[in-house]
Structure formats: C-alpha cells, structure tokens
C-alpha cells in the first residue's frame, strides 16, 4: 500500500474535476448525466476499467478495507461486504474513480522518477491505492471522498431538488453545528436529506452522504449561526 503525497486541491478544483468527468460521461452517453449517476457505467463503460466485487478483507488481510484500485491493471475492486448497500457501494466506486482521476497522474509521474515502483517481470501487481475505513483523514482519501460526493450529487441537481422542496431560502435547523462537531446528524437534517434523495432521484446515495452534501453546499443552516449572521 502506498501513502500518496498529493498536492492541495481547492474545492473549486474538485468541482471542476468531477464536472469534467460528468461532461465526458454525458458526451459518451449522448445524453445529459442526471441522478442517479451510474458510476459503474462510468468506470466500466466509459473508462474501460475492470470492476470486481471480491473479499478484499481476506485478500489484503485488512479488516476495514472497502475498495482498492490496481492502476497498472485498470482494475477497481470493491469489498463484497457492501454489495447489498447501494449507497455505500456507489460511493466507494465513485471514491475509487476519484483516485483514478485525481491521483493516477501523480503516481504515473512518480513511476517515471522513482525506482520504488519498478516491478520485476512476473511480479503480481500490487494495488496502488487501498481505501480503508480508518484511513479517511489522509489528504488523498479526503479528496477522493469529496470527488465522490460531487460526482454522485452534482451541486446543480442538489440545489434544484432543494428549491423544489423548500424554496429559495435554506431551511434553518437548531443544533446543526453542535451535532456536526459531535459527528452526529440531527433527525431534522436526515428528514430533509431523505426528501432530496427522493425528490431528486438520488437513488444510489445514502442519507448520510446527502446530509454532508447539504451541509457542505450550505443548503441548510444552523439556527444560531444564521441568527449571528443576520446580526453582523
């Protein structure tokens, strides 16, 4: 497993990278890319990658692995434990696509300059990127998560779904920031997320992922913070 050193990416750069992939997908499909975004089709159909569902935990001897990407083989593997969970599965595929789009060029470049990556003939290729539940805070993992969220929940589609449900003013909820700091999601936020998922046809997005997307896009506001903002 490699620790990838990645350059800092601004949110606008992540927006651009995911939008660019969606634009290419739209062109490839000859149809607008609307939710639910078929990340399997982007991976297998458009990019020509191999998608496999395997017992990664056993294969890599890591009990918290969710996905891995073999860059040399063009192969994305998803752990079979999440096969029945559409939201988690699609997010993990989208996350691996994030590595493919954002980090593959960096690793490819490193290969040219670092002998570390030189494989002997006949060597079994090792996965270049292994994504574990506990490794989420590494910059590369964070970037891939952000990319995945943008790919599955394009801002324009989320905003349109929110407007259709709640009008132009973002809903103001009590205790939102405090709950987020405690890594919790309020039931009011979860209810709004469920409405957006249903109204916007985000059928391959989990409620949790939509909650965080709504918060990141500032489409729901904390009551105290909103009041403070009005006073300033």
């Amino acid at each position: 497993m490699l620790q990838i050193k990645v350059p800092f990416l601004k949110p606008s750069e992540l927006d651009h990278a995911s939008a660019e992939l969606l634009r290419k997908y739209s062109g490839w499909k000859c149809a607008p890319s609307r939710p639910p975004i078929d990340v399997d089709e982007i991976a297998e159909g458009m990019l020509g990658l191999d998608l496999e569902v395997v017992d990664l935990k056993q294969h890599l001897k890591m009990n918290d692995v969710l996905g891995a990407t073999w860059l040399d083989d063009g192969r994305i593997c998803i752990d079979e434990s999440i096969e029945g969970q559409e939201g988690r599965f699609a997010f993990t595929v989208a996350h691996e696509l994030g590595h493919w789009q954002l980090h593959r060029p960096i690793i490819e470049m490193d290969k040219v300059t670092l002998p570390l990556f030189a494989a002997k003939p006949g060597d079994k290729p090792a996965p270049a990127i292994v994504c574990r539940a506990q490794a989420r805070k590494q910059p590369a993992e964070w970037q891939a998560d952000q990319f995945a969220a943008r790919l599955l929940m394009p801002a324009s589609d989320v905003i349109a779904a929110m407007r259709a449900l709640h009008g132009d003013e973002p809903p103001v909820l009590a205790g939102l920031d405090a709950a987020r700091e405690a890594r919790q999601l309020t039931s009011a936020l979860r209810t709004i997320a469920a409405g957006v998922i249903s109204g916007g046809n985000f059928t391959n997005v989990s409620n949790e992922a939509m909650c965080y997307r709504l918060l990141d896009l500032k489409l729901v506001l904390d009551q105290a913070a909103a009041r403070q903002g009005r006073l300033l």
């Binding site: 399997d40 089709e41 297998e44 159909g45 191999d50 998608l51 496999e52 569902v53 395997v54 017992d55 079979e80 096969e83």
Partner: protein, 113 residues
Amino acid sequence: MGEKLGEHVRRLRKERNLGLRATARELGITAGYLSRIESDAEKYPPGEDVIRKLADVLGADFDELMRLAGRVAEAVKTQVREDPRMPEFLRQVREKGIPAERLIEMLKKEDKD
C-alpha cells in the same frame, strides 16, 4: 491454451458493454459470485442453470460454456443413463475417432432424406 470459462465470460460481457452488477442482476446472482466466476476463483464451476442464463444474457453458446465449465448437461446424462446402447455407441465413436461434427452432418443428411 484456449480461454478459460472466466476469461470467456468476461470477454463476452465486455464486448456487449454489459456492467458487472447489471449482468449479475439479470442472472439473479450476486456481483461477488459473478466476479469469482470471471476470475476463475470459484471453487466449483457454476451449475447448468446459471450457465444457461449466462448463455441467454451474453448471447453465448450454451454447449461451449458447459464445456469450458467442465460440465455435462443433465439432458445428455439422462440420455446416456436411459439408453442401454449409448455407452457402446460412445465407445465406438471414440475408438474409431469419429468427430462429432461428422456425426452431426450424418444426422442432418438423414433428416433431409
């Protein structure tokens, strides 16, 4: 060496632009199981029912898939079991080195006559 079952299935699926999970859904099996079939990692080859569905979904030759899986169709087994002369017939075919192709041609000709 020719293709193994898994390589054959994956190649046909990709040629037809069918996704792993979409194909598995059509087959009524898990994507994990289809992945194991495609990477020849499954301990036992898929059964006749799965192979029949694979042939339908991929537009593949059922007999070829059965051969690659090292399986013999139930209908063939029944024929051999129920016809007492069948073992002798198959023995002679093997001893005389008659290719199946020629026997099929003979049967077709008989049908025409």
